[in-house]
Symmetry: C2
């Protein structure tokens, strides 16, 4: 089993931020600076082309740490951030850029690329969860959530389908094509975010994926527009979702 090694640490505004590695996978753990006992953990997945140090990750972590007293952790996806990029990664990214520049459909490139990254990332996230739960301020047996959009959803759905320790998840905004089997197997509460007018991801496909989740408790949030980014209110909504599902005894 790979153990967790902290490589850097800083603290501000009541948030302790620690860089870590599990094996050769780097990540960041954000925690309440004044943490005393075990507290829930939310695993996060960054979007394609981004990385663990993207400001959206720090922003989401801040809401979870200061709003809920939770821990939040993110890993660099394979070929992203501080991780080496293979020749195949470079080819896939180049193919994606070509498709985008040509105005051609992205899905034929993105979907298999994301599937390949997810196959590698799912065991990495499970190993990181093993290692993070060894920390006394997280602990084994506590509630664990997952939030990821874009690539973070493509990794997160097979992860949540496979990992019984994750009991609530927020997903959104990637092509659903390869994710229907995972959706069937996911039964934990889900909040699913989509852009109603996305010119990239077909509306009907996103609605069909939402319909496929096996979860008795699931909510679809569809926002008008075709923004690439998350609608700002959804980060707040996701925080409240985790507050409800990971710490139901809280007021």
């Amino acid at each position: 089993m790979n153990s967790l090694r902290f490589t850097a640490e800083s603290s501000s505004d009541g948030i302790l931020e620690r860089d870590f590695t599990v094996g050769d996978v780097p990540g960041i753990l954000w925690s309440p600076a004044a943490a005393t006992g075990p507290a829930p953990l939310v695993l996060m997945g960054h979007g394609g082309g981004a990385a663990k140090r993207h400001r959206a990750m720090a922003g989401r972590a801040r809401l979870l740490v200061t709003g809920c007293g939770f821990h939040a952790a993110v890993l660099d996806a394979p070929g992203h951030g501080d991780r080496p990029r293979s020749a195949r990664d470079a080819e896939d990214v180049a193919a994606l850029r070509r498709a985008q520049a040509a105005g051609a459909p992205e899905a034929p490139v993105v979907v298999p690329y994301n599937v390949r990254l997810a196959e590698q990332a799912v065991p990495e996230y499970r190993a990181a969860l093993d290692a993070l739960q060894e920390l006394p301020e997280i602990g084994t047996g506590g509630p664990v959530g997952y939030v990821g959009i874009g690539l973070g959803m493509a990794i997160g759905m097979p992860l949540v389908a496979a990992e019984p320790r994750i009991t609530a998840a927020v997903f959104g905004m990637t092509w659903p094509d390869a994710l229907f089997e995972a959706a069937k197997r996911i039964t934990v509460p889900v909040e699913f975010v989509m852009h109603w007018d996305s010119g990239r991801i077909p509306r009907e496909a996103s609605l069909a994926l939402f319909d496929t989740f096996g979860s008795a408790e699931k909510s679809l949030h569809a926002n008008a527009g075709e923004h690439v980014a998350w609608h700002p209110v959804e980060a707040d909504s996701a925080t409240r979702f985790f507050a409800r599902h990971l710490a139901p005894a809280r007021p």
Copy 2:
């Protein structure tokens, strides 16, 4: 112009509750007990078969008053609450009960019934808004919202389409059949709530109605299940929606 007459008043937990009439239409106004200057107002519409004193109205008002410092007001719909029920009201309600008891479709009865009530209620709400804005603690020119589900949506959509003073609205959970024309004319921010698995209101019809709203800013919240009631988190979400749209300068 009908003026507002207060008929009863009580206060608890920082909330001033006043019964009023505008003409022969009774309503309730909830306000911050310590209100000093003009503050936003949210008009509310109750569901079919309910009335102004339904606990959902008081609950929503409490969130708006204590959470946002806003005023909230509801009217009894025609033939509901303390208002007289006409022979035609009694016939329509009896026809609805027969359809429900027989397991027959409700829409052929509910839709025209709601259209008739809305035709009467829309001018009543506009007159009440005139009168409420005469109060110094509300004032003219301030932000006004509307929230209504079920019958409250059937009344609220033509109201919001016709009333330029209403600048943000939350709707949900009635048959959309007669509401597409109003949806086209509504351009203010909208939050639209539906049950994903409603056995009564066809999913595709609700999605089509959401698509029809003319609003650049609109969000669909679809929750799994076929509950008749609002998902509890949606009352909180609606409160935050109004806090954002009626008092954007607030933190």
